[in-house]
């Protein structure tokens, strides 16, 4: 990381980048599903956007949201199929698992949002 020399906080594609990160966070915190749909639509629409900043934030947030889908939703279904919610251990694992994984993704989204606001690209540390 380098200190930024331009103090102006505005740049090409910044608002799309910020919107992408905001939708990602909204998908986690406020309106799951719907926020992702809008995000995906924005990503498809702006795939050829001239701003690399906007493009990369849109791509990264879609990718990370798909991971959220796998790690939170699919795992939940698996637990349900495997053990059900009748045992104490299931609840123990599920609550701790969800709280930590969910918060970790929220924290990553905050980093992404801060980067977008500072006109910087940001890669989610996910394959």
């Amino acid at each position: 990381m380098q200190p930024s020399d331009n103090n102006s906080q505005e740049c090409e594609g910044q608002s799309l980048a910020v919107i992408a990160e905001a939708l990602y966070l909204s998908n986690l915190l406020l309106v799951p599903g719907l926020s992702f749909a809008v995000l995906l639509w924005l990503h498809l629409k702006h795939r050829k956007h001239e701003s690399e900043l906007a493009q990369s934030h849109l791509y990264e947030t879609v990718k990370a949201s798909l991971w959220v889908g796998v790690l939170l939703v699919v795992v939940n279904i698996l637990i349900f199929l495997m053990g059900g919610y009748e045992s104490a251990n299931t609840w123990l694992v599920v609550i701790i698992y969800f709280t930590t994984v969910h918060s970790a993704f929220v924290l990553l989204g905050m980093l992404g949002l801060a980067k977008a606001m500072a006109c910087k690209v940001w890669r989610y540390p996910l394959p």
Binding site: M1, P3, S4, D5, N7, Q9, A88, W91, L92, I95, I96, T99, T100, S103, V106, L107, M110, L111, L113, A114, K115, M117, A118, K120
Partner: protein
């Protein structure tokens, strides 16, 4: 250090750190008593250790806040403190009164302490966090009023900034809400109702203003971002704090006998309380991303970011976890509460005090801008060891809480309290081990003050 009188912060910080060590030792004693019931009995019973643990926490945080104010206000106001002598006198009064109170807790039974301190003249003792004898409470009021006078005079006579105004409002609120500790009605519902005006309106109200102002101050210093930008954030953060936090008090009124509408009001408003913490975290990362200089004090920057993240997790996430009335119906007063209490207090208030100490102590010790890199490396190790240990303490207590609720509060044949506790002893052992990790982190932190080496120019 730009102003001579800023140096009065130093004894405040040293005392704070000393009492912090005491707090942790008593935490570990209690952690062991959780699994070995008669450890140190009858010398230090659990209830006494608990009182010492929590009261030391509050007192050392107050020392830290006051030290922060004495350090920050001269720089913000661009003038010396109104009366450094008063600041030093109040320091000794507070330290001696605090020490005597702790000795009182440990030396005589609580009932005897109440008797010899004249509790029956103005009964205020016997309530969690407010266990101090009435004369100690009066002492606290005198110290805080003297402090407020000193700081307010300095601010009024000097440059007025958003940072110092927010801090001042926070401290005035702290003093005003503490006055409710003198109101101790016979009616238990009323007692609890106003007890929360001290406890909740402190940590989820006025203390957050103090937290916000310290965080803003350190970020201005280490990032060099324009004050105007940081002030705008600070405004929105404290507005959100007050909008959500004041009526959010209702999340403590669900089951105490207060009117039922609190279940709705408390749930809605306190569910929004994570917002200011969320904003603080985005704010801190945003400022560091937009920084215009590389400040040599990397450790202070780490503490600033760490505070924002851990406060969000402890207060925001772990607070939200049990704040809705239908959830709180099951979790109320369980180990979930303790898990949240630990991470929130550590993340928000312990870390912000360590942050301002990290920023200011090198300057007060005559360094140009920061500690030598080697000392900072040790300090950053301490940061990670303490923080990760606290994460584990929280996770183990959360696990204990979930099982406790399952065994004791659900199903057709719920267990008795003690039978349930026996089942979850493993989690208490793990918590104690994580607590030892925390102590190791704290010792590392103390060592970092004595590590020498070449200083880096600013």
């Amino acid at each position: 250090m730009q102003y001579q009188s800023q140096a009065v912060a130093k004894p405040y910080f040293i005392a704070a750190l000393g009492l912090f060590a005491g707090q942790i030792l008593f935490g570990l004693i209690m952690g062991l008593q959780y699994v070995m019931g008669d450890f140190l009995f009858p010398e230090i019973p659990f209830n006494v250790a608990r009182m010492v643990h929590t009261n030391l926490l509050i007192v050392w945080l107050l020392f830290g806040f006051m030290g922060a104010a004495y350090y920050m206000v001269p720089e913000e106001s661009e003038r010396e403190i109104h009366s450094p002598k008063l600041a030093l006198a109040l320091f000794w009064i507070f330290l001696i009164a605090g020490a005597l109170t702790i000795v009182g807790y440990l030396a005589v039974p609580y009932a005897t302490l109440a008797k010899i301190t004249g509790n029956d003249l103005l009964p205020t003792m016997g309530r969690e966090f407010l266990e101090q004898p009435t004369i100690t409470k009066i002492g606290i009021v005198i110290v805080v009023l003297g402090f407020l006078f000193n700081i307010t005079m300095t601010v009024l006579k000097g440059r007025k900034t958003v940072v110092s105004s927010v801090m001042l409002i926070g401290f005035w609120g702290l003093a005003i809400f503490f006055l409710f500790s003198f109101y101790n009605p016979e009616n238990l519902v009323l007692d609890k109702y106003f007890w929360w005006w001290v406890v909740h309106l402190w940590v989820e109200g006025v203390w957050e203003l103090i937290l916000g102002s310290i965080l803003a101050f350190v970020l201005i210093k280490v990032t060099g971002v324009d004050r105007e930008v940081i002030e705008k954030w600070l405004y929105i953060i404290i507005a959100m704090t007050l909008i959500t936090g004041i009526i959010g008090t209702g999340h403590h009124y669900y089951w105490i006998g207060a009117p039922e509408y609190w279940q709705v009001l408390g749930s809605i408003f306190s569910a929004l309380e994570p917002i200011p913490f969320f904003m603080m975290a985005v704010f801190a990362f945003n400022m560091v991303n937009q920084r215009r200089r590389e400040h040599p004090n990397k450790a202070a920057t780490l503490w600033a970011l760490g505070t924002a993240v851990m406060a969000f997790l402890g207060a925001g996430v772990w607070g939200f976890l049990h704040t809705l009335a239908p959830v709180n119906f099951y979790t109320h007063g369980s180990q979930i509460t303790a898990a949240h209490g630990h991470m929130a207090f550590y993340g928000a208030y312990v870390m912000i005090v360590l942050c301002i100490i990290s920023y200011s102590m090198p300057l007060m010790r005559g360094r140009a801008a920061a500690n030598p890199p080697k000392a900072q490396v040790v300090e950053m190790w301490a940061f990670w060891v303490m923080t990760i240990s606290m994460v584990f303490i929280t996770l183990f207590l959360t696990g204990a809480g979930i099982l406790q609720i399952w065994l004791q509060r659900m199903g057709d044949t719920p267990m008795s309290f003690m039978a349930g506790q026996d089942q979850i002893a493993l989690f208490y052992w793990l918590r104690e081990i994580a607590g030892v990790g925390f102590l190791i982190g704290l010792i590392t932190y103390f060592i970092s003050f004595f590590v020498g080496g070449e200083e880096q120019a600013s």
